[in-house]
């Protein structure tokens, strides 16, 4: 299989793409998509961190069940939490975006600058 660092490159790449989107796109929705991408990269990173090459999911059953061959369950629990947090932030961000669009009639971040300085 791949060397473990390959996974890291993938995760970091996803994060960087997300950040790049956030930094350069004017549209608020795109920025939020970038945020989502960034977070996805982080979730992947979390999973990768606990991954052991060749090990299985940490679920016992009547037939399989050697703890030595399972991956670390903690990062998976963490990812679960992190994803839910991400979803909550996303929902809130979208709802705020809807409100913002009602006020400004645009989602262009250059124009949404009622508050500055």
């Amino acid at each position: 299989m791949f060397h473990q660092s390959t996974y890291f490159v993938g995760c970091v790449g996803l994060m960087i793409v997300g950040l790049y989107t956030m930094l350069t796109k004017k549209n608020l929705i795109k920025v939020i998509i970038g945020l989502s991408l960034f977070e996805t990269g982080i979730y992947l990173l979390l999973v990768v961190v606990g991954y052991i090459q060749g090990a299985t999911a940490p679920i016992f059953s009547r037939t399989t069940g050697s703890p030595a061959e399972m991956v670390d369950p903690t990062p998976q629990a963490l990812v679960l939490t992190a994803i839910v947090i991400g979803v909550a932030v996303l929902a809130l961000a979208l709802s705020l975006t809807i409100r913002l669009h009602e006020h400004y009639g645009t989602l262009n971040l250059r124009k949404i600058r009622g508050l500055k300085w």
Partner: protein, 233 residues
């Protein structure tokens, strides 16, 4: 200009991340340490809690407090959405373009809705035995509601009972935690008997909590979806 600056910064950032991550000893060599929580959960989690899915036992009991926080965050998102949309004027703009769904779609939705809900329920009830759990099941249930919104526009979800479900589920979660404090020694302790391995009634409080979470997440996500597509105020 902005693109240039961003690129430079991001290149530095990514190089830093990749090189740093590469030098860090991740994965296998750490978990073998027996005093590490991960190894401990794998070795003893099944015996202690009786839940076959170790991730579930971690999520619900060992790191149950995180899960409580996580549920809380979803709750915040749901009520935050309600608060943000509260004083909003009804927007009529989209009404004109609306076109009711075809009969096939409507019937299909109605037919699929109970099945999806059933599946979701299955997922969260069996959370301690198989992959899945309260969150996953809850999301599936919420997707059933989403389908309903998309297909049958005249259907409304009873917001009031949703709120009640949400609230009750949350109280049950906290209540079980406090019961653990009362009958056991710590908050969220698994104070019920662990039951038979690999059976539905195993894992002590885990299924109960996961059922509560399932209901709560389902109700909350459905509420969020409803809020976002302006079905309900």
């Amino acid at each position: 200009m902005r693109i240039l600056i961003s690129c430079v910064l991001l290149v530095i950032l990514s190089l830093g991340l990749v090189f740093a991550l590469e030098q860090a000893p991740f994965g296998s060599n750490q978990i073998d340490n027996a005093d590490k929580p991960g190894r401990f959960y794998l070795n003893q989690g099944m015996e202690k809690t009786g839940a076959a899915n170790v991730v579930t036992s971690v999520v619900v009991t060992y790191r149950g407090f995180d899960t409580l926080g996580e549920v809380t965050i979803l709750f915040i998102a749901a009520i935050g959405l309600g608060a943000v949309f509260h004083s909003r004027k009804k927007v009529k703009r989209y009404e004109k373009e609306k076109q009711s769904a075809s009969l096939i779609l409507q019937t299909g939705c109605r037919f699929l809705f109970p099945l999806i809900v059933l599946f979701g329920t299955y997922v969260f009830i069996h959370g301690h035995l198989s992959p899945g759990g309260g969150f996953q099941g809850g999301v599936i249930i919420a997707s059933a509601f989403l389908l309903l919104f998309l297909g049958c526009e005249e259907k409304k979800i009873p917001m009031k009972s949703m709120n009640t479900v949400e609230s009750l589920a949350g109280i049950i979660f906290v209540g079980i935690g406090l019961a653990g404090l009362y009958w056991g020694e710590s908050f969220l302790e698994n104070f019920l008997p662990r039951g038979m391995d690999y059976m539905l009634l195993s894992g002590g409080v885990i299924p109960i909590i996961y059922i509560a979470i399932g209901f709560k997440v389902g109700a909350e996500l459905a509420g969020i979806v409803a809020g976002l597509i302006e079905r309900n105020p």
